[in-house]
Symmetry: C2
Amino acid sequence: MLSQRSKYALRAMTMLAAGKPGELVLVADIAKHRKVPRKFLELILLDLKKRGLLHSKRGKNGGYCLARPASKITFGEIVRITDGPLAPLACASLTAYRKCDDCEDEKTCSIRRVMRNVRDSAAAILDKVSLADTASKTR
Amino acid sequence: MLSQRSKYALRAMTMLAAGKPGELVLVADIAKHRKVPRKFLELILLDLKKRGLLHSKRGKNGGYCLARPASKITFGEIVRITDGPLAPLACASLTAYRKCDDCEDEKTCSIRRVMRNVRDSAAAILDKVSLADTASKTR
DNA sequence: GTATATGTCGACTAAACTGATCGGGATTCA
DNA sequence: TGAATCCCGATCAGTTTAGTCGACATATAC
């Protein structure tokens, strides 16, 4: 299950995708419209910014906007940033591979094989769906 | 990502599936061969038993065995017992549906729609793969 | 320059969860 | 009886999660 963090991130991003590209939106506005605790949202947006998904401007009339066109930001990216790898097992992850501690033979591990399939099918969806695919329906 | 619990459960179950049907196996043996902390494994097996996946016998010459043919026990069942619903969001779950707190219109929620697809594709795999599919390769 | 709005950031907290251990109880068999 | 074995409640340390607080940096408007 996705963390609250991830859910909030997705909500915020779909809201930004629904507006005009480049238009700055206040953290407070996102928090209000998407029902996200304000201060918590700040942390999440900051993180998304550091990972290159958002731009921000400080000071008066500041705010956040998408760093790229909505069509170039996928659900997969957002989820990986806020929740970590998609794969159910680290040894089945592409973006965050790590060898199992106790598994001798990765090649023949049927658990890994199955989980790799799960990962692949999740990635096939999440890495294809972009914020643009949701923008029209979200407002 | 799957919890350690789930990983241990899957390892234990594949081991039981690899043996003769109905043959009793000691917790201690599973713990040893699958490198799972013994006491922790007891809890997990007990849980799987309560949910109808395992049979056990107490006392001398006791042990655990699968409660059904390996072909009738799926990865999906095991994961749901040890890790909860497959869906990334409760509102996208079939077996553990719960309405989103803050989502007004489920019908048009694009986040939900995407996550429902992810759930469906994961379930399509995990509910189809059974322990029998792994048994031959696991020994 | 000053005031003010706004993002930035580190520290902090309470609660829940995770992974695991301990000690003993109940049951079965020989 | 006694050894083997599953059953079970209590406990625990560490991590994660969700969220708050307060101060600071920066930009704009005046």
